[in-house]
Amino acid sequence: MVMFLMILCMSLFGLALTALAFGAATGTLRQDDEIRLDEVVDERLAAVPERFFVRDDAPRPTVAMPKVPLEVLLTQIDRHVRLEQAAAESFINFPSRESLHGRTLSPLAH
């Protein structure tokens, strides 16, 4: 019995010493580590875009526009101007709402 009590006391004493030593060691470490961790996290955060999972570039149209050769586009513009001018002159000769907003065959007007 005495021996049991002695072993128990020594175990409790040892446990208390271990707890004290652990507490002292982890207490100082925790403060240092927290500062270093904050610094590391700040640096990493600064390097990462704010919206990590969101594309920062402007959204592109989902429908791809057909690539028109420059010469074709210039011809279309030329034709558009002529048709629009003709429509405008028609309106001046016979002013009405219909003649002002009448449709033309220009592909640029649709």
Binding site: L73, R82, Q85, A87, A88, E89, F91, I92, L100, H101
Partner: protein, 156 residues
């Protein structure tokens, strides 16, 4: 040989028309040759006697500036009325589409003649106002048609 069958001379007596034409100097343009540039000082008014002129404005197309046709002028029509209207700067570029003859009428000589012959000056200025008004009305209508399309696009 210049005739009085010109926009600018409508309603003018033959004597006055001949004297005014005599104030000018003939210019022959090769196809593609520029008569005046956008923004250049406008000291002359031009009468197209033969050929075709393209009046253009620059537009950014395909990554570069392109001359876009705005109006065409043919024989009998006036070009470059900025020569008579302040601030006397051309607001378009004029280029010959084919070999073209024009008569350049200097502003100073025209205004001096109009001071001496007010009736002729009045007639010419009325014709000029008609040409300016015509362009204004055409472009006003074109602008409104374009605005209508923009509104329809936004609404769709």
């Amino acid at each position: 040989m210049p005739t009085i069958d010109q926009d600018l001379f409508r309603g003018l007596g033959e004597d006055d028309a001949a004297r005014i034409l005599g104030l000018g100097r003939p210019i022959r343009l090769a196809a593609g040759q520029e008569l005046f540039a956008l923004g250049a000082d406008a000291g002359d008014v031009y009468l197209v006697e033969r050929g075709h002129l393209a009046l253009t404005l620059p537009m950014h197309v395909g990554g570069r500036d392109q001359d876009i046709l705005v109006e065409e002028r043919k024989a009998g029509q006036i070009v470059g009325w900025s020569g008579l209207i302040a601030p006397h700067r051309f607001t378009l570029k004029a280029t010959a589409q084919i070999e073209t003859d024009v008569r350049a009428l200097p502003r100073a000589a025209l205004l001096a003649y109009f001071e001496q012959h007010p009736a002729a000056g009045y007639t010419v200025m009325r014709n000029l106002a008609s040409a300016v008004g015509q362009r204004l009305q055409v472009f006003q209508a074109m602008w409104l048609r374009e605005m209508q399309r923009v509104v329809e696009l936004r609404a769709s």
